[in-house]
């Protein structure tokens, strides 16, 4: 070998090692690596049954089991457009580089998945590979669903195929180059999709394993609550540490005491997941509100408890952008406490005070209490602005309580002012939203 060839060969080797190292560093740990125990194949696990449906449905038919699992995986919310038929797709995902539309997953042969074989469906859900061989974008959380057992994925298919076929073609994606190159997702998938099924951890309880399966494979909590890495995949070094997703702040759900769930009681967590509200912790709104309405509220109580047991075990990761403690109740009189920002106060007096009160403790319902919520204690005020823009509605067994959307009633400037007033009065630190920030939030959620 000549000297030049040797140098070239060395450079190639160095480049390969550098790329491999880079990929290894960017990819980071898998979602369940933190647990550290011995993992066994699902078939070899005897202590319990982490996959499948809860006991009450054990004897149910495949369609009924699939319905429970489809709800647990929350398929419907993303695969239904506003005003569209359920599961017929067309919901737009606004990304910085264009809009991506969800697909029709009803059994229509032309526009849906009516021609999918079992293997096609497994390929799509677990590997992000379409019937025609094209790659799915990871807006479809197949890197989470890949942990589902084949049996559960096929039960979901049976359920979807039991639904009426809807003829509906979603709009074409409007992604810009290079993001419109679907084939390139082969490489993304090779690096970031583990393409492996859930493996129970024998050092943990059966309840933990069930919770891990539900949270990771089905509910895909991390897709919103875990920050993303350079490759737009989940960065599990900061597992559940909170992130901005679809224009909303998905708060820290690690076990960190100050900024995560470490100080929530079991009862609080159970109430929040199953009803969308826990006293002093606010009400689920935006994407989490949808997750509660269509998914968590349908979970069997023992499945909710399993998720809680699992969440407790996720290592604490603090959120440096949040205060260590939330602010106490504000003074009862509008004159005491924060008085700056006359415009924000004016909007608050006209539009907000009659339900939320000047103290932040609602005279109407604990569900409308602002005190103690992360939304008002987040100095970025992202969710305050979002809820003001689009309103919120909580369904409970005793009926629904809702806040109207103020997006059309107030200007960007007024919404920024009231968000800044609200964070100053009821939170720990006044936010500094501008009209431009509010305009951007409108843009991200417009649909």
């Amino acid at each position: 070998m000549s000297r030049t060839m040797r140098i070239l060969a060395s450079l190639v080797v160095i480049a390969i090692v550098a790329v491999a190292l880079g990929v290894f560093i960017i990819r980071g740990p898998a979602p369940l690596d933190f647990a550290g125990g011995t993992k066994v194949a699902l078939a070899d696990y005897r202590a319990g049954k982490p996959t499948g449906v809860p006991a009450k449905l054990e004897k149910a038919g495949m369609v009924e089991r699939g319905e429970y699992l489809a709800k647990a995986a929350d398929c419907m919310v993303c695969h239904t457009s506003p005003g569209g038929k359920e599961y017929s797709g067309g919901l737009g995902f606004k990304l910085p580089f264009g809009t991506l539309y969800s697909t029709n997953i009803t059994p229509d042969k032309d526009t849906g998945i009516g021609n999918y074989s079992d293997q096609d469906f497994l390929n799509a859900v677990q590997r992000g590979k379409r019937h025609d061989g094209a790659r799915l974008y990871p807006a479809m959380p197949y890197t989470s669903y890949t942990y589902m057992s084949d049996e559960d994925v096929l039960a979901v298919k049976a359920y979807l195929f039991s639904l009426p076929a809807v003829r509906a073609k979603p709009p074409e994606n409007t992604l810009s180059f290079p993001f419109n190159q679907r084939w390139a997702m082969i490489f993304w998938s090779a690096v970031f999709n583990p393409d492996t099924r859930f493996a129970p951890d024998t050092s943990k309880s059966p309840e933990w394993n069930r919770g891990a399966y539900l949270a990771e494979a089905l509910a895909h909590c991390g897709e919103c609550h875990t920050p993303r890495n350079l490759g737009f995949a989940l960065d599990n070094r900061k597992k559940f540490a909170g992130a901005i997703t679809a224009g909303w702040h998905a708060f820290n759900i690690s076990s960190d005491k100050a900024t995560g769930l470490g100080n929530w009681s079991d009862a609080d967590l159970i109430a929040y997941l199953s009803l969308g509200h826990a006293p002093g912790h606010g009400s689920a709104s935006g994407p989490m509100g949808e997750a509660v309405d269509h998914s968590f509220s349908q979970f069997a109580p023992e499945d909710i408890s399993s998720i809680v047991a699992y969440l407790r075990s996720v290592p604490p990761v603090p959120s440096p952008d949040l205060p260590a403690t939330t602010a106490p109740v504000a003074p009862a009189s509008h004159k005491d406490g924060i008085t700056a920002d006359a415009r924000g106060k004016n909007v608050f007096a006209s539009a907000c005070a009659s339900c939320h009160g000047w103290s932040g403790e609602s005279p109407v319902s604990p569900m409308a209490t602002l005190t103690g919520t992360w939304a008002v204690n987040d100095p970025a005020a992202t969710n305050v602005a979002q809820i003001v823009l689009s309103g919120t509605k909580r369904h409970t067994p005793d009926g629904a309580l809702s806040m109207p959307a103020f997006g059309n009633a107030y200007s960007d400037d007024e919404i920024a002012a009231v968000a800044n007033y609200v964070t100053a009065r009821f939170g720990t630190k006044r936010s500094k939203l501008t009209a431009k920030d509010v305009a951007e939030l409108r843009e991200q959620t417009a649909e």
């Binding site: 539009a351 009659s354 009926g399």
Partner: protein, 154 residues
């Protein structure tokens, strides 16, 4: 669903779904039409009633949220000390023009005086900003609240 509420000191039972707003129960089921429907989204104040003495908008308030709480409407507010003072002042100052928003204005003013017997302009702004009047009677509303608070009424 059978529901029981305490309205103006009386127990009222009726059939209504738990998410029905209180305003619908008052007007359509109980026939108490003094409380007005304005915007239906808590933006105009015409539907204001008192729940445990505080002014709230009944158009967005589901009845499931007010079980076991004391509800007072415009029909009964005159029997509270601050409500009586406000109604008297409203007549003395001839506040009302078309009148549609006025039961809400009176309810908000009565709740204000009950909590803050001598309100200044800032207090009036904070309490009354959510009550809109298309006739523009705001100047007389402010005047009447001050009159009611002054104790100078005949």
């Amino acid at each position: 669903m059978a529901t029981t509420l305490t309205i103006n000191g009386e127990t009222k039972s009726f059939d209504a779904p738990p998410e029905m707003p209180l305003l619908w129960v008052l007007r359509d089921i109980l026939g108490m039409t003094g409380t007005k429907f304005g915007c239906g989204i808590a933006q105009c104040g015409a539907c204001t009633v008192h729940v445990d003495g505080k002014a709230v908008r009944s158009c967005v308030l589901p009845i499931s949220a007010v079980a076991n709480r004391a509800i007072t409407t415009i029909e009964h507010v005159g029997s509270t000390p601050s409500g009586a003072k406000v109604q008297k002042a409203w007549l003395d100052a001839e506040v009302i023009q078309c009148g549609y928003c006025q039961s809400g204005q009176i309810m908000s003013a009565a709740a204000l005086l009950a909590a803050t017997p001598s309100p200044d302009d800032a207090d009036i702004d904070a309490a009354m900003a959510g009550n809109i009047c298309r006739c523009g009677t705001y100047v007389r509303i402010r005047e009447a609240i001050k009159l009611a608070a002054s104790g100078r009424q005949s």
